[in-house]
């Protein structure tokens, strides 16, 4: 490799970097630099996360007491619809791939940008354009269909905002498809010399598997939403039985996308884990091939298990049986990943810093999320638990806990690289304890409320569920507070944080070989990769 500076040597403060190379708002809004696009996504996604999170706190406040006394039922229904729609379409889907993925993919591959930089910018612009539709519905009174848009409730609703929300989700899909396409080509065609398939960081493998799902599944939801818009405007009966349609067909179409999309959210989170756990244990990943292959296996199996959302929908007993059996197949690659990460810790040199604590927190949360999924894959127990708070708790543990803890771990891990600043790790660790307790206090009681029978999407509930809801509400305030603290000290680091070295954690993957923050074209010279991303032996040998 021709770049001679490695760990700790010089942090590029003398020269320019991607943040200060060009100035002005336009230089950001119309940039084709993947790093700037990643940063813009991060800012936008976090803004929407704030909105979605405030809706969540409003929901928890209503549910602090059994009576529906703070918001009217109609307002409450809009709150959970907007919470779900914003969190799924605007936050969780792009949360890691479009932010950290955009920033890191070319850097980890040792190249100057993604394959199609202008297409990448277009993805961002489409994302913003699509989000305007959801914002429009927000300011003009919201929608109350639930983020799932189940027919015939959505198709028969006279509320014009439903069409606007559907159009927004439809447009957002294109952003997702184009990003996926871009990343697939980048991985195939843009790898630096020496970056073989088996020398790609596992984060890249995860993003690659995610991109395949995005390209294959998103068109299905786009067509589905289009058909629903078409039904609402033109009145052709596809899903609405009053027009001769079939409402259960909508559920099949919807989950054919919306189940794989869970893996669009969570595979990148897995990718972050494979990086943070290895670097902060200074250990080669345990079972590289198994983890890479399991990402691809999860992506593939994820396409044929959508029917487990529909065991009580009226689909045939035979379909239910087949979908249950297939669903168990996805548990194996997930278990392999979890076991491999924990095995990586063995005889490591484990740093108890903020990114590592969030990574260990992720393992705890994802273990609960994954293991509780088994109750829902099993036919007899799912009948009882379906559409109760047990399901709400399960998917928050998987989607929200999993993705958010991984995103926060990843943000702390790559913050020095992205911003060139170090944050206060002590506050970070204290906040981790707060957020971990807050998170589990919010969602664990919901498992009990759910298995006791409390249905989801209830504006009021029976007094027998009160204790579990109050614990949950208390936890949500604690968790919300901890997220604000994270935001606070990260922003503060931008102004008064110490300058970050090139490689503060002693990592072996390529993104740490350039200065922090990187120069506009990523690396100061050509990159040649001579060892794998987890080969700390070779890395040390080269350094000394």
């Amino acid at each position: 490799m021709s770049t001679s500076t490695l760990d700790g040597v010089g942090h590029g403060a003398s020269g320019t970097n991607y943040l200060n190379a060009k100035k002005g708002l336009m230089s950001w809004l119309f940039t084709i630099d993947h790093k700037r696009i990643g940063v813009m996504y991060l800012a936008t996604v976090l803004t929407f996360f704030l909105a979605g999170g405030l809706f969540a706190l409003a929901i928890r406040t209503e549910l602090a007491t059994p009576a529906g006394d703070i918001f009217s039922a109609a307002v409450y229904n809009k709150l959970f619809t907007l919470h779900g729609a914003i969190m799924v379409f605007l936050v969780l889907v792009p949360a890691i791939p479009a932010t950290l993925g955009n920033f890191l993919l070319p850097l980890q591959l040792g190249t100057i940008d993604v394959a199609f930089p202008k297409l990448n910018l277009l993805s961002f612009h489409i994302y913003v354009f699509g989000s305007l539709f959801l914002l429009y519905t927000l300011v003009t009174g919201g929608v109350d269909t639930g983020w799932t848009f189940y027919t015939p409730y959505s198709s028969s609703s006279a509320d014009g905002n439903v069409v606007a929300a559907l159009t927004g989700a439809f447009i957002l899909g294109f952003s997702s498809i184009l990003t996926g396409l871009n990343f697939i080509v980048t991985v195939h065609k843009m790898r630096a010399p020496g970056v073989t398939w088996l020398r790609m960081p596992l984060f890249v493998w995860a993003i690659y598997a995610t991109s395949v799902i995005q390209v294959l599944a998103t068109p299905v939801i786009a067509i589905t939403l289009f058909l629903l818009i078409f039904e609402k405007i033109v009145g052709i009966g596809i899903f609405d039985p009053a027009l001769g349609g079939d409402p259960v067909l909508f559920q099949h179409f919807f989950w054919f996308y919306s189940h794989p999309v869970v893996y669009v959210m969570v595979l990148p989170a897995f990718g972050v884990m494979s990086e943070t756990i290895t670097v902060h244990s200074r250990k080669h990943i345990f079972g590289y091939t198994a983890i890479a292959a399991s990402s691809v296996a999860i992506a593939a199996v994820g396409f044929i298990i959508w029917g487990h959302h529909m065991f009580v929908s009226g689909q045939s007993e035979l379909s239910g049986t087949v979908f249950s059996l297939l669903t168990f197949a996805v548990a194996i690659p997930t278990a392999i990943k979890l076991c491999s990460w924990i095995a990586t810790l063995y005889k490591g040199s484990i740093q108890w810093n903020t990114p590592m604590l969030y990574s260990l927190g992720f393992l705890w949360i994802f273990a609960i999320g994954g293991l509780t999924g088994l109750f829902l894959a099993t036919l007899a127990t799912d009948v009882h638990l379906h559409d109760t708070y047990f399901v709400v708790a399960h998917f928050h543990y998987v989607m929200m806990g999993g993705v958010l803890f991984a995103l926060v771990a990843g943000m702390h891990h790559w913050w020095p690289k992205i911003t060139g600043k170090m944050y206060n790790d002590t506050i970070g660790r204290v906040t981790f304890v707060l957020s971990f307790i807050g998170y589990n206090l919010t969602f664990f009681p919901q498992f009990v409320a759910g298995s006791q029978g409390m249905p989801r999407r209830y504006h009021q509930y029976l007094p027998e569920f009160e204790m579990w809801n109050q614990l949950s509400t208390l936890g949500s305030y604690l968790f919300g507070l901890s997220l604000f603290i994270i935001l606070g000290y990260l922003l503060q680091s931008l102004f008064s944080g110490k300058a970050a070295p090139r490689n503060p954690w002693g990592a072996a993957s390529l993104e740490w070989r350039t200065q922090s923050p990187p120069v506009e074209h990523n690396f100061e010279g050509d990159v040649v990769c001579t060892y794998g991303p987890y080969d700390y032996e070779a890395h040390r040998a080269l350094k000394s």
């Binding site: 079939d246 392999i336 095995a343 490591g348 007899a380 009021q460 700390y536």
Partner: protein, 358 residues
């Protein structure tokens, strides 16, 4: 720790007969569902404790001592990887199998089940009981629906709707089959104490069965989001001893007879005459323009084009609304569609009437 507490509490019974995780088990298959639940629960708990203990012990034991720590290169271990791939597979297959067996029991109503029609409508449940011949006297069916007006004055009380809405009344110790459909959007009929749940769908019929061995009262929740008052769409199942139930249902039938209100099959019979159905369909097994309708329910019929169909509620409904969709072999597709001509209650009535024809 958060996992340990519920672990200990898993089997502790509450005063109301429920446990920490599950409400009381009040149907014949509830215990089987709970057994599957606890099999998964203890398997999960064992895995969780082992994985998290390993994680925490190693995080403590191998905490970084100095910046110059070196670590061994361990890239994997095929035996270990094989073990944690294959061993859980057996447990997963066991979970699937137990869940499947339980589900089959929950899905197949016994042949001698008593049938009650359940109709979901924003935001209430309607229950239709069939007509019967009691002591040689023909008594009509009747409907249970609505809420007690005086009771509904308890504004703001979260227990109001579950206590005021009309309950579905069933006999103890006898299997009951609910044949359900919706008149507007999706609903779902959920009885936690019975571990029973099924979506209630417009335009098609779904079924749910249970047998409650003991008399008692159990909550019914709507578990499919259906709009503004979804969180208020409650009912109860009131399980009566057989003798009390018999007295109740006879009293209701006699009231219905006295009031002369037509519901279910009786409404269908009246429509069958007034809409001119008899002009094409005979009820004595002989052919007219269309096929005869008596003694057809539950049988197989051959269709034009070679397919066969089982005549169930869904097929009858479709054949009234869109007769051309599945035409019986050997008959002309000449019946006019009634989509938009009949309301849901009328279609339901006709279906019930045809079901009752012997």
């Amino acid at each position: 720790m958060s996992m340990l507490l519920p672990l200990l509490a898993a089997g502790v019974a509450r005063a109301d007969g429920g446990q920490f995780w599950m409400p009381k088990a009040a149907s014949t298959y509830a215990q089987q569902v709970d057994d599957v639940f606890y099999f998964i629960y203890f398997t999960d708990a064992a895995f969780f404790v082992v994985l998290m203990a390993a994680m925490i012990i190693m995080a403590v034991k191998y905490k970084r001592r100095s910046e110059d720590d070196t670590t061994p290169v361990i890239k994997g271990n095929h035996t270990l990887e094989l073990v944690w791939s294959v061993f859980p597979t057996f447990l997963l297959v066991a979970m699937f199998w137990l869940g499947f067996r339980g589900w089959i029991n929950m899905s197949v109503p016994p042949a001698d089940s008593m049938e009650i029609r359940v109709i979901g409508q924003k935001w209430n449940w309607t229950y239709q009981y069939p007509a019967a011949s009691v002591n040689g006297q023909e008594l009509p069916g009747f409907e249970v629906a609505g809420a007690d007006e005086a009771c509904m004055q308890r504004i703001g009380d979260p227990t109001r709707d579950i206590e005021c809405n009309a309950p579905i009344v069933v006999p103890a110790g006898k299997p009951v089959k609910l044949v359900m459909n919706s008149r507007d959007v999706l609903h779902s009929f959920f009885i936690p104490d019975f571990r029973a749940k099924k979506d209630v769908v417009p335009g098609r019929y779904t079924q749910l069965w249970f047998e409650a061995p003991e008399p008692g009262e159990h909550n019914v929740f709507c578990t499919e989001y259906c709009g503004d008052r979804h969180g208020y769409m409650y009912s109860k199942v009131k399980v009566l001893p057989q003798a009390e139930f018999d007295a109740w249902i006879t009293e209701q039938r006699e009231k219905a007879k006295a009031s002369g209100a037509l519901t279910g099959a009786a409404l269908g019979e009246q429509l069958f005459a007034s809409k001119g159905c008899a002009g094409c369909h005979k009820l004595d097994g002989s052919r007219l323009v269309g096929p005869p309708l008596n003694a057809k329910f539950g049988t197989q019929e051959n269709l034009e084009g070679g397919a066969t169909v089982t005549i169930d509620e869904g097929y009858l409904r479709e054949s009234i609304l869109v007769p051309g969709a599945k035409v019986v072999a050997g008959y002309p597709p000449s019946m006019p569609p009634y989509q938009g001509q009949l309301n849901d209650a009328q279609v339901e009535g006709l279906v019930e009437y045809i079901k009752s024809l012997k």
